[in-house]
Symmetry: none
Subunit: 161 residues, 2 copies
DNA sequence: CCTAAAATCACCCGAAAGTATGACGGAAAA
DNA sequence: TTTTCCGTCATACTTTCGGGTGATTTTAGG
Protein backbone atom coordinates (compact mmCIF):
# COMPACT_ATOMS: atom_id res chain seq x y z
CA UNK A 1 0.00 0.00 0.00
CA UNK A 2 1.69 3.14 -1.17
CA UNK A 3 0.85 6.70 -0.47
CA UNK A 4 0.84 8.83 -3.48
CA UNK A 5 1.32 12.42 -2.39
CA UNK A 6 -0.42 14.22 -5.15
CA UNK A 7 0.26 17.92 -5.04
CA UNK A 8 -3.38 18.68 -5.67
CA UNK A 9 -4.62 16.61 -2.77
CA UNK A 10 -2.11 17.96 -0.29
CA UNK A 11 -2.95 21.52 -1.31
CA UNK A 12 -6.64 20.79 -0.92
CA UNK A 13 -6.13 19.38 2.54
CA UNK A 14 -4.03 22.34 3.59
CA UNK A 15 -6.63 24.78 2.36
CA UNK A 16 -9.44 22.95 4.17
CA UNK A 17 -7.40 22.96 7.32
CA UNK A 18 -6.61 26.63 7.02
CA UNK A 19 -10.24 27.49 6.30
CA UNK A 20 -11.41 25.49 9.27
CA UNK A 21 -8.95 27.24 11.54
CA UNK A 22 -10.10 30.56 10.12
CA UNK A 23 -13.69 29.62 10.87
CA UNK A 24 -12.57 28.70 14.33
CA UNK A 25 -10.99 32.09 14.83
CA UNK A 26 -14.12 33.80 13.67
CA UNK A 27 -16.26 31.76 16.03
CA UNK A 28 -13.88 32.42 18.83
CA UNK A 29 -14.10 36.12 18.13
CA UNK A 30 -17.87 35.95 18.21
CA UNK A 31 -18.03 34.07 21.51
CA UNK A 32 -21.00 32.16 20.42
CA UNK A 33 -20.47 28.51 20.93
CA UNK A 34 -17.77 28.37 23.50
CA UNK A 35 -19.96 29.42 26.26
CA UNK A 36 -22.50 26.70 26.28
CA UNK A 37 -21.87 24.09 23.54
CA UNK A 38 -18.20 23.31 23.75
CA UNK A 39 -18.72 19.53 23.82
CA UNK A 40 -20.85 19.62 20.75
CA UNK A 41 -18.40 21.86 18.97
CA UNK A 42 -15.45 19.59 19.71
CA UNK A 43 -17.47 16.61 18.62
CA UNK A 44 -18.30 18.29 15.35
CA UNK A 45 -14.64 19.05 14.79
CA UNK A 46 -13.84 15.41 15.47
CA UNK A 47 -16.44 14.14 13.04
CA UNK A 48 -15.48 16.60 10.35
CA UNK A 49 -11.82 15.72 10.59
CA UNK A 50 -12.56 12.04 10.74
CA UNK A 51 -14.47 12.35 7.52
CA UNK A 52 -11.66 14.49 6.14
CA UNK A 53 -9.17 11.82 7.14
CA UNK A 54 -11.22 9.10 5.53
CA UNK A 55 -11.58 11.14 2.40
CA UNK A 56 -7.87 11.88 2.39
CA UNK A 57 -6.99 8.28 2.88
CA UNK A 58 -9.23 7.12 0.12
CA UNK A 59 -7.82 9.75 -2.16
CA UNK A 60 -4.21 9.14 -1.37
CA UNK A 61 -4.12 5.44 -1.03
CA UNK A 62 -3.50 3.82 -4.29
CA UNK A 63 -6.25 1.33 -4.82
CA UNK A 64 -5.25 -1.92 -3.35
CA UNK A 65 -5.46 -4.05 -6.37
CA UNK A 66 -5.78 -7.69 -6.02
CA UNK A 67 -5.07 -8.56 -9.54
CA UNK A 68 -6.85 -11.60 -10.61
CA UNK A 69 -5.36 -12.66 -13.83
CA UNK A 70 -7.72 -14.50 -16.04
CA UNK A 71 -5.90 -15.95 -18.91
CA UNK A 72 -7.82 -15.63 -22.03
CA UNK A 73 -6.51 -17.92 -24.61
CA UNK A 74 -6.00 -16.25 -27.89
CA UNK A 75 -5.27 -18.66 -30.59
CA UNK A 76 -2.48 -17.62 -32.80
CA UNK A 77 -1.63 -19.63 -35.78
CA UNK A 78 1.88 -20.76 -35.83
CA UNK A 79 2.99 -22.22 -39.04
CA UNK A 80 5.21 -25.17 -38.68
CA UNK A 81 6.95 -26.13 -41.77
CA UNK A 82 7.42 -29.78 -42.01
CA UNK A 83 10.12 -31.16 -44.12
CA UNK A 84 9.73 -34.87 -44.23
CA UNK A 85 13.39 -35.26 -44.93
CA UNK A 86 14.06 -33.43 -41.69
CA UNK A 87 13.89 -35.18 -38.34
CA UNK A 88 10.44 -36.42 -37.57
CA UNK A 89 9.47 -37.55 -34.18
CA UNK A 90 10.49 -40.99 -33.24
CA UNK A 91 7.63 -43.38 -33.62
CA UNK A 92 7.44 -44.96 -30.19
CA UNK A 93 4.29 -46.77 -31.06
CA UNK A 94 6.00 -48.57 -33.89
CA UNK A 95 8.84 -49.52 -31.59
CA UNK A 96 6.31 -50.97 -29.21
CA UNK A 97 4.55 -52.84 -31.95
CA UNK A 98 7.75 -54.39 -33.16
CA UNK A 99 8.73 -55.26 -29.61
CA UNK A 100 12.11 -53.63 -29.83
CA UNK A 101 13.71 -53.16 -26.44
CA UNK A 102 15.70 -50.18 -25.17
CA UNK A 103 19.00 -51.90 -25.61
CA UNK A 104 18.17 -53.11 -29.04
CA UNK A 105 17.23 -49.60 -29.99
CA UNK A 106 20.58 -48.34 -28.76
CA UNK A 107 22.36 -50.91 -30.85
CA UNK A 108 20.21 -50.03 -33.82
CA UNK A 109 20.97 -46.36 -33.38
CA UNK A 110 24.70 -46.97 -33.27
CA UNK A 111 24.39 -49.33 -36.18
CA UNK A 112 22.84 -46.51 -38.18
CA UNK A 113 25.92 -44.40 -37.64
CA UNK A 114 27.91 -47.04 -39.44
CA UNK A 115 29.67 -48.59 -36.49
CA UNK A 116 30.77 -52.22 -36.58
CA UNK A 117 29.52 -54.67 -34.00
CA UNK A 118 32.83 -54.50 -32.23
CA UNK A 119 32.72 -50.70 -32.03
CA UNK A 120 29.17 -50.85 -30.75
CA UNK A 121 30.25 -53.36 -28.14
CA UNK A 122 32.97 -50.94 -27.07
CA UNK A 123 30.57 -48.05 -26.83
CA UNK A 124 28.03 -49.99 -24.82
CA UNK A 125 30.65 -51.73 -22.67
CA UNK A 126 29.41 -55.18 -23.55
CA UNK A 127 30.93 -58.08 -25.38
CA UNK A 128 30.85 -58.52 -29.12
CA UNK A 129 28.64 -61.55 -28.68
CA UNK A 130 26.05 -59.52 -26.86
CA UNK A 131 25.90 -57.02 -29.65
CA UNK A 132 25.54 -59.86 -32.10
CA UNK A 133 22.65 -61.26 -30.16
CA UNK A 134 20.98 -57.86 -30.04
CA UNK A 135 21.47 -57.25 -33.72
CA UNK A 136 20.15 -60.70 -34.56
CA UNK A 137 17.04 -59.96 -32.56
CA UNK A 138 16.71 -56.62 -34.29
CA UNK A 139 16.90 -58.25 -37.70
CA UNK A 140 14.25 -60.73 -36.68
CA UNK A 141 11.94 -58.08 -35.35
CA UNK A 142 12.43 -55.82 -38.33
CA UNK A 143 12.19 -58.79 -40.65
CA UNK A 144 15.39 -57.98 -42.49
CA UNK A 145 18.55 -59.86 -43.27
CA UNK A 146 21.28 -57.25 -43.14
CA UNK A 147 22.27 -54.33 -41.00
CA UNK A 148 22.00 -51.98 -43.95
CA UNK A 149 18.42 -53.05 -44.48
CA UNK A 150 17.74 -52.72 -40.80
CA UNK A 151 19.02 -49.17 -40.77
CA UNK A 152 17.10 -48.30 -43.91
CA UNK A 153 13.87 -49.72 -42.56
CA UNK A 154 14.36 -48.22 -39.13
CA UNK A 155 14.79 -44.80 -40.65
CA UNK A 156 11.82 -45.29 -42.87
CA UNK A 157 9.68 -46.26 -39.90
CA UNK A 158 11.05 -43.38 -37.85
CA UNK A 159 12.13 -45.56 -35.02
CA UNK A 160 15.56 -44.01 -35.06
CA UNK A 161 16.72 -40.52 -35.85
CA UNK B 1 -15.21 0.51 -3.25
CA UNK B 2 -17.22 -0.93 -0.42
CA UNK B 3 -17.03 -0.24 3.26
CA UNK B 4 -16.95 -3.30 5.36
CA UNK B 5 -18.22 -2.46 8.79
CA UNK B 6 -16.32 -4.87 10.92
CA UNK B 7 -17.70 -5.03 14.44
CA UNK B 8 -14.25 -4.86 15.92
CA UNK B 9 -13.23 -1.75 14.05
CA UNK B 10 -16.43 0.11 14.82
CA UNK B 11 -16.15 -0.76 18.48
CA UNK B 12 -12.58 0.41 18.54
CA UNK B 13 -13.49 3.67 16.91
CA UNK B 14 -16.36 4.21 19.33
CA UNK B 15 -14.14 3.52 22.28
CA UNK B 16 -11.48 5.93 21.03
CA UNK B 17 -14.12 8.57 20.53
CA UNK B 18 -15.58 8.01 23.95
CA UNK B 19 -12.19 8.10 25.60
CA UNK B 20 -11.34 11.31 23.81
CA UNK B 21 -14.53 12.91 24.93
CA UNK B 22 -13.84 11.70 28.45
CA UNK B 23 -10.40 13.27 28.30
CA UNK B 24 -12.04 16.40 27.05
CA UNK B 25 -14.41 16.44 30.00
CA UNK B 26 -11.58 15.96 32.37
CA UNK B 27 -9.62 18.77 30.83
CA UNK B 28 -12.67 20.96 30.86
CA UNK B 29 -13.08 20.25 34.52
CA UNK B 30 -9.52 21.19 35.16
CA UNK B 31 -9.71 24.47 33.23
CA UNK B 32 -6.20 24.14 32.09
CA UNK B 33 -6.06 24.51 28.40
CA UNK B 34 -9.16 26.41 27.55
CA UNK B 35 -7.94 29.59 29.00
CA UNK B 36 -5.00 30.24 26.82
CA UNK B 37 -4.39 27.43 24.29
CA UNK B 38 -7.74 26.75 22.69
CA UNK B 39 -6.42 26.99 19.11
CA UNK B 40 -3.71 24.48 19.78
CA UNK B 41 -6.14 22.14 21.47
CA UNK B 42 -8.59 22.25 18.59
CA UNK B 43 -5.74 21.71 16.18
CA UNK B 44 -4.62 18.63 18.07
CA UNK B 45 -8.12 17.26 18.00
CA UNK B 46 -8.24 17.86 14.27
CA UNK B 47 -4.96 16.09 13.65
CA UNK B 48 -5.83 13.18 15.91
CA UNK B 49 -9.13 12.63 14.23
CA UNK B 50 -7.66 13.03 10.80
CA UNK B 51 -5.20 10.27 11.58
CA UNK B 52 -8.01 8.26 13.06
CA UNK B 53 -10.03 8.76 9.92
CA UNK B 54 -7.16 7.71 7.75
CA UNK B 55 -6.57 4.62 9.81
CA UNK B 56 -10.24 3.80 9.71
CA UNK B 57 -10.40 4.25 5.99
CA UNK B 58 -7.40 2.02 5.40
CA UNK B 59 -8.87 -0.60 7.65
CA UNK B 60 -12.29 -0.54 6.16
CA UNK B 61 -11.56 -0.28 2.52
CA UNK B 62 -11.96 -3.62 0.98
CA UNK B 63 -9.19 -4.37 -1.43
CA UNK B 64 -10.27 -3.54 -4.85
CA UNK B 65 -10.26 -6.58 -6.97
CA UNK B 66 -9.32 -5.85 -10.42
CA UNK B 67 -9.87 -8.62 -12.80
CA UNK B 68 -7.36 -8.23 -15.47
CA UNK B 69 -7.82 -10.33 -18.48
CA UNK B 70 -4.50 -11.26 -19.84
CA UNK B 71 -4.49 -12.51 -23.30
CA UNK B 72 -2.39 -15.51 -23.42
CA UNK B 73 -1.12 -16.47 -26.75
CA UNK B 74 -1.68 -20.06 -27.46
CA UNK B 75 0.14 -21.15 -30.47
CA UNK B 76 -1.80 -23.48 -32.57
CA UNK B 77 0.53 -25.26 -34.80
CA UNK B 78 -0.53 -25.16 -38.31
CA UNK B 79 1.42 -27.74 -40.09
CA UNK B 80 2.52 -26.72 -43.50
CA UNK B 81 3.87 -29.61 -45.36
CA UNK B 82 6.65 -28.86 -47.67
CA UNK B 83 6.71 -30.93 -50.74
CA UNK B 84 9.69 -33.03 -50.04
CA UNK B 85 8.71 -35.81 -52.33
CA UNK B 86 11.25 -34.10 -54.50
CA UNK B 87 13.63 -33.79 -51.58
CA UNK B 88 16.91 -32.05 -51.60
CA UNK B 89 18.78 -31.85 -54.76
CA UNK B 90 21.58 -34.24 -55.22
CA UNK B 91 24.83 -32.53 -54.66
CA UNK B 92 26.58 -33.12 -57.95
CA UNK B 93 29.37 -30.81 -57.01
CA UNK B 94 30.22 -32.94 -54.02
CA UNK B 95 30.19 -36.03 -56.18
CA UNK B 96 32.64 -34.34 -58.48
CA UNK B 97 34.85 -33.27 -55.62
CA UNK B 98 35.00 -36.77 -54.25
CA UNK B 99 35.68 -38.16 -57.69
CA UNK B 100 32.90 -40.69 -57.56
CA UNK B 101 32.08 -42.16 -60.93
CA UNK B 102 28.66 -42.92 -62.40
CA UNK B 103 28.97 -46.62 -61.83
CA UNK B 104 30.16 -46.18 -58.29
CA UNK B 105 27.21 -43.95 -57.63
CA UNK B 106 24.88 -46.64 -58.92
CA UNK B 107 26.44 -49.16 -56.59
CA UNK B 108 26.24 -46.70 -53.74
CA UNK B 109 22.61 -46.06 -54.46
CA UNK B 110 21.76 -49.74 -54.44
CA UNK B 111 23.88 -50.21 -51.37
CA UNK B 112 21.73 -47.62 -49.63
CA UNK B 113 18.64 -49.71 -50.23
CA UNK B 114 20.18 -52.49 -48.22
CA UNK B 115 21.16 -54.81 -51.00
CA UNK B 116 24.06 -57.20 -50.65
CA UNK B 117 26.97 -57.07 -53.00
CA UNK B 118 25.68 -60.16 -54.75
CA UNK B 119 22.24 -58.61 -55.26
CA UNK B 120 23.83 -55.43 -56.56
CA UNK B 121 25.91 -57.51 -58.94
CA UNK B 122 22.75 -59.18 -60.17
CA UNK B 123 20.99 -55.90 -60.72
CA UNK B 124 23.87 -54.38 -62.60
CA UNK B 125 24.66 -57.54 -64.53
CA UNK B 126 28.25 -57.58 -63.40
CA UNK B 127 30.24 -59.98 -61.30
CA UNK B 128 30.42 -59.91 -57.53
CA UNK B 129 34.06 -59.01 -57.73
CA UNK B 130 33.30 -55.95 -59.78
CA UNK B 131 30.85 -54.77 -57.19
CA UNK B 132 33.44 -55.37 -54.54
CA UNK B 133 35.95 -53.30 -56.45
CA UNK B 134 33.47 -50.50 -56.85
CA UNK B 135 32.48 -50.55 -53.24
CA UNK B 136 36.09 -50.59 -52.16
CA UNK B 137 36.72 -47.53 -54.30
CA UNK B 138 33.64 -45.87 -52.85
CA UNK B 139 34.87 -46.49 -49.34
CA UNK B 140 38.24 -45.00 -50.21
CA UNK B 141 36.73 -41.93 -51.79
CA UNK B 142 34.28 -41.39 -48.99
CA UNK B 143 36.97 -42.17 -46.46
CA UNK B 144 34.93 -44.78 -44.66
CA UNK B 145 35.42 -48.40 -43.75
CA UNK B 146 32.01 -49.96 -44.04
CA UNK B 147 29.03 -49.87 -46.33
CA UNK B 148 26.80 -48.60 -43.54
CA UNK B 149 29.10 -45.65 -43.00
CA UNK B 150 29.24 -45.05 -46.70
CA UNK B 151 25.48 -44.93 -46.94
CA UNK B 152 25.23 -42.69 -43.90
CA UNK B 153 27.81 -40.27 -45.22
CA UNK B 154 26.42 -40.34 -48.74
CA UNK B 155 22.98 -39.43 -47.45
CA UNK B 156 24.44 -36.75 -45.23
CA UNK B 157 26.28 -35.24 -48.18
CA UNK B 158 23.22 -35.53 -50.39
CA UNK B 159 25.04 -37.44 -53.01
CA UNK B 160 22.32 -40.07 -53.02
CA UNK B 161 18.58 -39.82 -52.43
C1' DC C 1 8.11 -63.83 -3.57
C1' DC C 2 7.99 -65.60 -7.99
C1' DT C 3 7.89 -65.28 -12.93
C1' DA C 4 8.61 -63.38 -17.52
C1' DA C 5 11.09 -60.46 -20.19
C1' DA C 6 15.36 -58.31 -20.99
C1' DA C 7 20.18 -58.26 -21.04
C1' DT C 8 24.27 -60.54 -20.89
C1' DC C 9 27.77 -63.84 -22.76
C1' DA C 10 29.70 -68.02 -25.19
C1' DC C 11 30.85 -71.16 -29.16
C1' DC C 12 30.53 -72.73 -33.81
C1' DC C 13 30.10 -72.19 -38.63
C1' DG C 14 29.06 -70.44 -42.96
C1' DA C 15 28.21 -66.36 -45.57
C1' DA C 16 29.09 -61.82 -46.71
C1' DA C 17 31.97 -57.95 -46.69
C1' DG C 18 36.14 -55.81 -47.32
C1' DT C 19 41.47 -55.57 -48.65
C1' DA C 20 45.15 -56.03 -51.73
C1' DT C 21 46.72 -56.64 -56.06
C1' DG C 22 46.75 -57.29 -60.79
C1' DA C 23 44.94 -57.47 -65.43
C1' DC C 24 42.57 -55.92 -69.68
C1' DG C 25 39.89 -53.13 -73.01
C1' DG C 26 37.89 -48.77 -74.20
C1' DA C 27 37.24 -43.85 -74.10
C1' DA C 28 38.73 -39.38 -73.30
C1' DA C 29 42.26 -36.11 -72.40
C1' DA C 30 46.92 -34.39 -72.86
C1' DT D 1 49.96 -41.16 -79.53
C1' DT D 2 50.50 -41.80 -75.01
C1' DT D 3 48.56 -41.30 -70.64
C1' DT D 4 44.92 -41.51 -67.59
C1' DC D 5 40.67 -42.87 -65.92
C1' DC D 6 36.78 -45.94 -65.93
C1' DG D 7 34.68 -50.22 -65.85
C1' DT D 8 35.26 -54.81 -65.78
C1' DC D 9 36.92 -59.14 -63.71
C1' DA D 10 39.84 -62.28 -61.01
C1' DT D 11 42.47 -64.48 -57.09
C1' DA D 12 43.74 -64.78 -52.47
C1' DC D 13 43.20 -63.53 -48.00
C1' DT D 14 41.26 -61.35 -43.65
C1' DT D 15 37.63 -59.52 -41.17
C1' DT D 16 33.06 -58.93 -40.06
C1' DC D 17 28.46 -60.37 -40.09
C1' DG D 18 24.66 -63.21 -39.15
C1' DG D 19 22.28 -67.74 -37.83
C1' DG D 20 21.68 -71.19 -34.52
C1' DT D 21 21.76 -72.76 -29.96
C1' DG D 22 22.24 -72.54 -25.16
C1' DA D 23 23.08 -70.46 -20.74
C1' DT D 24 23.24 -67.11 -16.79
C1' DT D 25 22.07 -62.94 -14.60
C1' DT D 26 19.12 -58.61 -13.98
C1' DT D 27 15.15 -56.27 -13.87
C1' DA D 28 10.51 -55.31 -13.41
C1' DG D 29 5.59 -56.55 -12.53
C1' DG D 30 1.85 -59.20 -10.70
Amino acid sequence: MTLRATHKEILLYGISLAMLLLLLKWLEARFIIFNYRLDFFIGSIAIVFTVLGIWLALKLVKPKIETRIVEKEVYVEKKVYIDSSAPKEINREEIGNLGISKRELEVLQLMATGLSNEEIAGKLFVSLNTVKTHSSNIFMKLDVKRRTQAVEKAKRLNIIS
